[in-house]
């Protein structure tokens, strides 16, 4: 149950960050050009979008950290699988488990380093350039995202050890091809 809520939260967070960043940059461009139009100048100049770029970067870094964790769950992180595909099922399982545990190890270590960083910066009281948010809040995505990713690696490894199934991402998914048979587009 807790895991289900966590899954949902993760999905909503990264999709929302994606949408929000797009809208913010779009509005910032509109604002920049609106100030160039005399009739709109009076309105447009009152909006302040100097922070847009910084916010967009932070949003995407957050999206990247949590999205990477989500990516472990969907199996999107690609590796070199030519060699392990030559192995028998049992042997392949060992090597893949080794890889997954290495993933958990790396993200676990990075998460701890990130936590140390946040702690350290929290003490200094540094703030960001445009938004003036405390930097420790901004950097919080490194430990949170990495620990979540570590958890996902362990989760996937556990499920794989038990059932032998790995999440696999379809890199070639295209929607809207079902109606293919009635394609009247090509003259026959």
């Amino acid at each position: 149950m807790v895991v289900r809520i966590l899954n949902r939260l993760e999905e909503v967070l990264i999709a929302a960050l994606m949408a929000a960043a797009t809208i913010i940059i779009f509005l910032a461009i509109i604002q920049r050009y609106a100030t160039g139009v005399p009739a709109l100048y009076a309105y447009a100049r009152t909006w302040d979008f100097t922070w847009a770029q910084e916010l967009c970067i932070y949003m995407f870094v957050w999206m990247a950290k949590f999205g990477a964790a989500y990516g472990v769950r969907t199996g999107i992180h690609v590796g070199v699988d030519v060699f392990i595909n030559m192995l028998g099922v049992e042997q392949r399982r060992k090597v893949i488990l080794f890889g997954l545990l290495c993933g958990a190890l790396f993200t676990g270590v990075v998460g701890s380093l990130g936590a140390y960083l946040v702690w350290h910066i929290g003490g200094i009281g540094q703030v960001s350039q445009d938004l003036e948010v405390p930097m420790w809040i901004v950097y919080l995505c490194v430990p949170l995202g990495s620990y979540l990713m570590c958890f996902r690696f362990l989760q996937v490894a556990w499920a794989y050890a038990k059932t032998g199934e790995l999440p696999a991402h379809d890199h070639a998914a295209v929607k809207g091809l079902e109606a293919e048979s009635k394609a009247a587009t090509i003259p026959t």
């Binding site: 994606m18 461009i29 870094v61 590796g79 030559m86 042997q91 350290h120 490194v142 890199h171 003259p187």
Partner: protein, 475 residues
Amino acid sequence: MTVSGAIQASEPNPQRGRTISQLLIAVPILLVALCFAGKYGIVDLGPAARGTLIFALLFALMVTGMPVSIALGLSVLTFLFTLTQVPIEAVALKLFTGIENFEIMAIPFFILAGNFLTHGGVARRMITFATAMVGHWYGGLALAGVVACALFAAVSGSSPATVVAIGSILMPAMVRHGFPNRFGAGVITTSGSLGILIPPSIPMVIYAVATNSSVGKLFIAGIVPGLMLATLLGLTTWRIARKNDYPRLPKASWSARFKAFLDAFWGLLLIVIVIGGIYGGIFTPTEAAAMSAVYAFVIAVFVYRDLSLREVPGVLLASANLSAMLLYIITNAVLFSFLMTHENIPQALANWLTGQGLGWVGFLLIVNLLLLLAGNVMEPSSIIVIMAPILFPVAMKLGIDPIHFGILITVNMEVGLCHPPVGLNLYVASGIAKMGITELTIAVWPWLLTMLCFLVVVTYVPQISLWLPKLLGMM
């Protein structure tokens, strides 16, 4: 965690490859042990040994099939911790600051734009338009396939998705018209890769970020080679079709052509917005990407009505997923290239290569062979992000233009997507054409050969890539 997407049939012997699997696990552990031995002064590692050790560790970790990003990160972490004085906390900071760059943010925006338009409806419009324009020539539908692939791939930004979208509509139609299955599969597999050369292109953004080059110049530079390659693939198709007298379609009327054009126009305008916006100085590349994402949303939901508003969150999530994966590789690759610079490897490599009397001709040959080899086992983004920072300083030292270098790497990546034994397009196409990889390898041969010849030409004739940006006064 697959690049090739190879489907494993029922395994006759589950214990096959016991020795190999033990080696795959033992070698990285031994190399890590060696690093620790160096830390405590048990073995003395010279500069050359250190350099070799980094690459050996990275390679050993990568062949176990773990994500490329994790392999990169782990080798850097181990090396920094054991063999350098760099404070290890710096790694965590680099993981944030490594992608704290507005240029990189073009990648998620372009992915979002592409995902809105990666839809069967858009593919069908492109095919109709292409068929109306070139269907009456020799090779008819196949020729239209080349054009449709080029257009769709440029808009969607994904080569495998192009093969699926165009292939699953066009390949059955071609068979119905009496083309051999092999012919259709060959055309679509190779043409599907055209997208990464025609802007907007994500591998180009990655190259630009990795080498600090201009995204705008790269995009403009990609246009001429992209059109040339599309023409060459079309010519190959036309020649084979004429020789075998494959069916042609009746010539479409101008009114039908115009109607098809109008239908495809909204999708194609995306390319114009990106190129025109960047060239005209209206947007920075990242802003152009954000604009194209908003534009693609409007077109997909309100103009084409392929997507309902309810499907939008799904598109956002899928785009975030793919973007995060790429950004994660980039972050770890930034760490890796930080380590490279710290160990002075690109400089040492450049000095050594020039010391060998290797000119730019020989260097580019080696680069191409190396990248084609890497293309066997990795996908384009990972290759560029790892190799570009290492090779770029050497190229600069030999006086190669950064934009030309980027274009030749991109063309090389296109070839890598289609060549056996492991090309992503090849695997995807084999699924749609219901054709084995071996048979498909024979099927793609004429087009692959064309691409390889074109790669040689692009490599040694910089004017092809640099002509347009120079003409437009960009460089």
